[in-house]
Each structure stands twice: as C-alpha cells, then as structure tokens.
Homo-oligomer: 394 residues x 2
C-alpha cells in the first residue's frame, strides 16, 4: 500500500513494552495542507493541546505517534515531553519544528518515556519507506486485535486522487466531535478551509456515530494531510463538484475505519447498527440510538443472543426523547418483533433469536412520530470486555 508523496516508518522503541512496534512516523515530502478534529473531553492530553495549536496554520509535514503511554495528565512535564519529541524529529528531518504533529495513546497519568523515543529516532527516520504504512497502523494499536487501514481512490477533474486511512480504537470509545487516533493521507490538492470542513462533516457522520463503551478518551484525534501531489485542479470554494466528490470519498474512508473500530471493540463478538427512525428530528433519533447503544443491559443481551426487547424499550424510555410506547415498532434485522409496543409472540421471537446469532446485526426502532432517522454503530458487551479492562494495566 503506497500513497504518492508520503513515506512512513515504525520501530519498537520500548516505550512501555519490549519488542513490539510502538513508535510510528508519517512524513509528507512537500508540506501538506492538514486539518484535524480533536476530543471534546475537557481533560486533553499534551499532544492534543499542541496539535490543536499547530494546526491553526493548516500545514504539517510529519506525524510522530506512540502507543503505550497517552501522555495525558502529566502536567508541565507532558508538554515538555511532547515538545522535546517534536524537536528531536524536526532536527533529524531538517524541517521546521512547527510542521511536526505528535500523537499518543495508552495509559493515562504516566510520563512519556522520551529517552526511548530519543534512542530510536535515528533508526525510525532512517527506516522511512514508501511501503511501511501498515507498520505504523500496527504501532498505534493498544487493546486492538487487528490493525485498521483503508485505501481508496476517486477521480476528480480527470485526476486520480488517492486516500489512505488508518485508525486505532478498541476501548474508551464514544467520540464526541472526534475519535481515537486516526490518520488519513491523500495526494489531493485542496485548500485548508475545504479540507477542514470536509473532515468535520465526514467525521460527524462516521467516527462520531460509533460507541464501544460510552467513555470518551482524552487523546482522540483525527488528522488528515493532503499533500497535493496528485496535481488536480485545486479543490476550493470555486470547485463545488470536486469538493463534493472529495467529501463523499473521505466519508467512505472514515466510515470504513469507524466500522473496523466497532467490530474490533474490546471483547466484541458482534457489530450492531442501532437505527432509530420516525423520530421528530435527527437529534432525537441520535440521542435515543446512542442511549440504547450505551446500555450495558442491551449490550449484554446482544452478547447472550437474547432478543430481550424489554431492555431496549426501557433504555428508550430513559433517553429523554418523548415518544408514545404504544406506537413503537422494533425489528432485529428483517424480523419485526414488536408492533405498536406489543410482542408479536414466541414464534417471531424465535426467529429474532436466529438473527442475533449473526455477527452483524441491525436493530431498527420506528417511533412513527416524524421523519428523523439516525444510526449509531456499536458492539456487544462480553465477558472479555470485563477481562480486558480489569487487567489492562497489569
């Protein structure tokens, strides 16, 4: 997997564990138009604070990312560590320090091991290659069980534009305006306002629609770099068709990454789409879908393959959305189980149970109150989720 004008590398720096890739680097040959969206958690990790500031210029040339340590809640030391890491990289790459973005994921509250980063910097930079993106995707994994990458192309104004995206997820996932780490690279030539707007819009429909456990991380970020090497006509406000194509493709890339995060949620055995239709507005549909998606009782019932719609309607009832319980329809896949608030009986329930044995499940709720419709993507809640999170730091 290659993408024009970008190189990448990853090494095992020993930041927390030995002998696993934990430090990654992405470099754009020319300075790239770069936009980002970041966590809305009030507690923001040092790299988030630094990158938010640096991206005001809308340009970047390198992303340095580590796993094993979130570099969050580490006070002044955290920002010093982020700045020092950046400086080590910019010196070695001979680029402006302001053109470096840093990113961290892992345990909160522990100091970043900058010595490990320093010792590995030569090897990291010397290892830059056109084919090492998959290594970076591996280096950012924490409790992820598989790395997550997407490659896509689109033709805009007779130029083939490439997109490459990577993400890590697994836990502490209920992004709000941004999600866990995701980096998207494109060779498109696009102006900064369009890039930022496209990212915001696509993110709202994708990463912001997933939830693993209702917890929002301190380190969430999605960054997109567009280095212009495709030499397409500039995508800007005078090129609405290019803009639309760019955004649609970006949304596809982010959606694919978002669904990969859900299907690899901590302990997940199933991917579940919660669709609420017939709400009075999209906001209400989203709020209700999110409440159902975050209910531990609903999620454990999915794990148990139990068509327990009572828990679903109980979660709907505490969502804050007004509706008439006696008008509600609930379906698992194409099996309508509840009609106007009442069960259609044991036979239908048996068929719904069959649907629950599948790996990908759609739960559809119709309130029949309006035309608001939204989807939230989530996973089930298994014994392994508890095992993983009871043992995470040991």
């Amino acid at each position: 997997m290659k993408i024009k004008g970008f190189t990448a590398a990853a090494v095992a720096a020993g930041i927390r564990y030995q002998d696993r890739l934990d430090l990654g680097l992405i470099v754009s040959a020319p300075p790239a138009v770069t936009a980002g969206v970041f966590t809305t958690n009030q507690v923001k990790a040092a790299p988030v604070v630094l990158d938010m500031d640096r991206l005001k210029q809308g340009r970047a040339q390198a992303i340095l990312v580590n796993s094993g340590c979130a570099n969050a809640c580490t006070g002044e030391n955290g920002m010093e560590a982020a700045l020092l890491s950046s400086k080590l990289l910019s010196t070695k790459l001979e680029i402006e320090d302001e053109m470096v973005l840093v990113s961290s994921t892992g345990v909160i509250g522990e100091r970043l091991n900058v010595t490990a980063i320093q010792s590995s910097m030569d090897k990291l930079v010397d290892g830059l290659s056109e084919t090492a993106f998959e290594d970076v995707a591996q280096a950012i994994m924490t409790t992820d069980t598989v790395s997550k990458t997407v490659f896509q192309t689109v033709t805009i104004d007779d130029h083939e534009i490439q997109f490459m995206g990577m993400a890590k997820g697994a836990g502490m996932i209920m992004p709000n305006m941004a999600t866990m780490l995701s980096f998207v690279l494109t060779d498109a030539q696009i102006s900064f306002p369009e890039l930022q707007q496209s990212l915001r819009n696509a993110n709202a429909k994708t990463f912001n629609r997933i939830t693993i456990d209702g917890d929002t991380s301190t380190n969430d970020m999605v960054i997109i770099m567009a280095n212009g090497t495709a030499s397409n006509d500039w995508i800007d406000e005078e090129n609405p068709k290019g803009q639309q194509l760019f955004q649609d493709t970006l949304e596809e890339v982010l959606k694919e990454l978002a669904l990969k995060i859900v299907s690899d949620g901590e302990g997940a055995t199933k991917s579940i789409t919660i669709r609420v239709c017939g709400a009075r507005g999209e906001n209400e549909a989203e709020l209700m879908a999110r409440t159902v998606a975050n209910s531990s009782l609903v999620k454990t019932a999915f794990f148990g393959e139990d068509a327990n719609w009572g828990r679903i309607i109980a979660a709907m009832g505490r969502s804050g959305v007004r509706f008439n319980p006696e008008r509600v329809d609930i379906a698992f896949g194409d099996v309508l189980l509840v009609k106007n608030g009442l069960s259609l009986g044991k036979d239908v329930e048996a068929r719904a149970t069959e649907v629950l044995k599948q790996k990908n499940i759609a739960l559809c709720i119709d309130l029949k109150d309006g035309i608001g419709c939204e989807e939230i993507y989530t996973c089930d809640f298994s014994l392994d989720y508890v095992k993983i999170n009871a043992d995470y730091r040991t």
Copy 2:
C-alpha cells in the same frame, strides 16, 4: 420482625418459576396514609400507572406484589391484568378495590399470569400473619442474591414509632426520583402531605443516589404506608419537630436499603462510594459523581483492583462539569493518589491498590472550585454481571 397493625404473606404461585415465593401481600388493618414515588422512565409498567392514580387519594390498605413478570409493555392487557389482580384481592379481603396497590418486577413485555395469581389468592390471604414480612422480601427478589429488610424505631413525642422497610434491586438500577421496588411500613400517625414530602426528600438522598448499571427500570416504585397505630400526636405542619425526626429516620431506613441494593448489585464484588467535593454546586458534584459511577471502564478497573485514576479523570472530563484538571485531587480511601492533577508516584499507587482490595471503598474527588459536595453509591462491574445479563431470560 413485626410491626403494629400490619400483616403479611407470601406464596409460590408459579408465575414464572415453580416452587419459589413469587407473590407477596402486605395488609394494614386500618386504612393507612400512603405515599409513593415512581419511575421517571417514560415507559411505565401497568402497576405503576395504576398506583400513581390510586395514590392521589393518599390512602391504601394492601399491596399485592409479584416477581417473575414486570407486566410492562403489555398494552391494554397489562392494565386489565393489574385491575383483575386488584379485584381478586379486594373481594377476598372485603375492602374497597381502590385501597389496593399492585406492584410487579421481572421480565418486560410478557403477559402477567393472572390465572396463577387467582389460584393462589385464597392461600395467600389465609396465610396472612404478623411475622411473614421476610417472606414478602424474598418473594420480590429477581436476580437479588439476598433479601433486603430494615427495622428501625424512633421516639417522637414520647411515642415509640416503628419502621420496617424492604427492597429489591440487583439490575436496571439508576433510579431517577424512585427506584426498584421498595415498601416501607410504619405505625406512625402522619398526615399525607408530610408523608409524601418526607418520602420525596429521603428518597432523593438515598435511592436516587445509587446506580448499578445506569439503566432505569420501567417498574421502579417506593411506597410507604403509615397506619397510625402508634397513636402519636399527628405529624403535620404544626409539628415540625416530629416531622424532622420522622424524615431523618425514614432517610436512615431508605439509605440502609439503598446500600443493601448496591452491595447486592448484579455480579457486584465491591460497594463503592463516589464522593465529589469542591464543585461549584451540588448539582455539578452529583452529575460528575454519577458519570464516574456509571463508567464501564471505571467499574471494571474497580473489579480488577486497579488504581487506574486515568479512567476516572477521563470520565470526569466528559461529565459536562467544567473544572481545572490541574487542580484535581483524587483519593482512594485515605490514600491521596493524585494531587493537583498529578500522580504522587508508584509507592502511593501501591498503597491505593491495597485499599482497592477491600470490600467497601470510598473514592474521593476534590475539584477545589467551590463547596458543592455529593455522593453516589455504586458497585463494581464484574464478569458475573455479564454472565447474569447474557443469560437472564434463559
């Protein structure tokens, strides 16, 4: 355990399972001043709807309660079943039908087996005795592992007043203005407005401060019957001292029941008090404590006995309460682990881990922003929680 002027009985009616107590009855010899608080879930079970209406009169004489079936989301049939159960009882007891309250807990969406109730009614009423309250507390259990009762006395105006309370809890517990089933009996002579107000106030500080899993049931209710057989001076607006004593005692009774529910939460291995101090107001303290208490990541870390304060501060950061992360102190028990947003080191963490091995744990958060302080009571999130809820209906 006896209480003046009340009798009780319980039978195995076979409503869902055979050979376990599942139908309970409490009767007050004289009509009792009776108040209730009910679930705020928009989806309300038939018995909740019926009792809310009947309690407008502020009087009741009997409570008929079953487990195994919630009689929720069963449409017109649900209300018919509730009314028929009430009628069967009032006929047999020869009291006004309006003086009967009904209550149900168990699976949502299935029809109540009124035939089973009918067949058992004679045996139930004939079995009324002064000593069977513990049997009723057992009959209302679902995934509870122990029955929950409290007995307390207080002297008001030279009269000894008795209180007896019972409750069931276990799962779908984040009461909002009311909780799972709880019945409190007292021989106090008290007027209805005072009784209702005392119940509301005491409930707000007790049942409404606990959460097992963030889910609010469709069937929550707390009912208090005061039959006046203590012959104390009337507790009313002209007796503020009696009023205060009554409310304080009621609060103690409800708090003890609430803590029993938490320590018997589904799969719980630990009881945890989340105390947030130094907030700008009590509302903000409560909101933050509740967000931390409902975080799956925090709860699994407690189960894993891991002093993972990063998850705590991440949950605080998404609570919606504004605070300065660099001023936060966090303590487990009497071990201060985080001072001004920074860890006090590995040694202290080791001592905090020792605290986490205890069965009752206090987590104290100080924001240093004001004087708002509130507590929420919860439990940890264990493998057994998932096992119980993946298998509940099978």
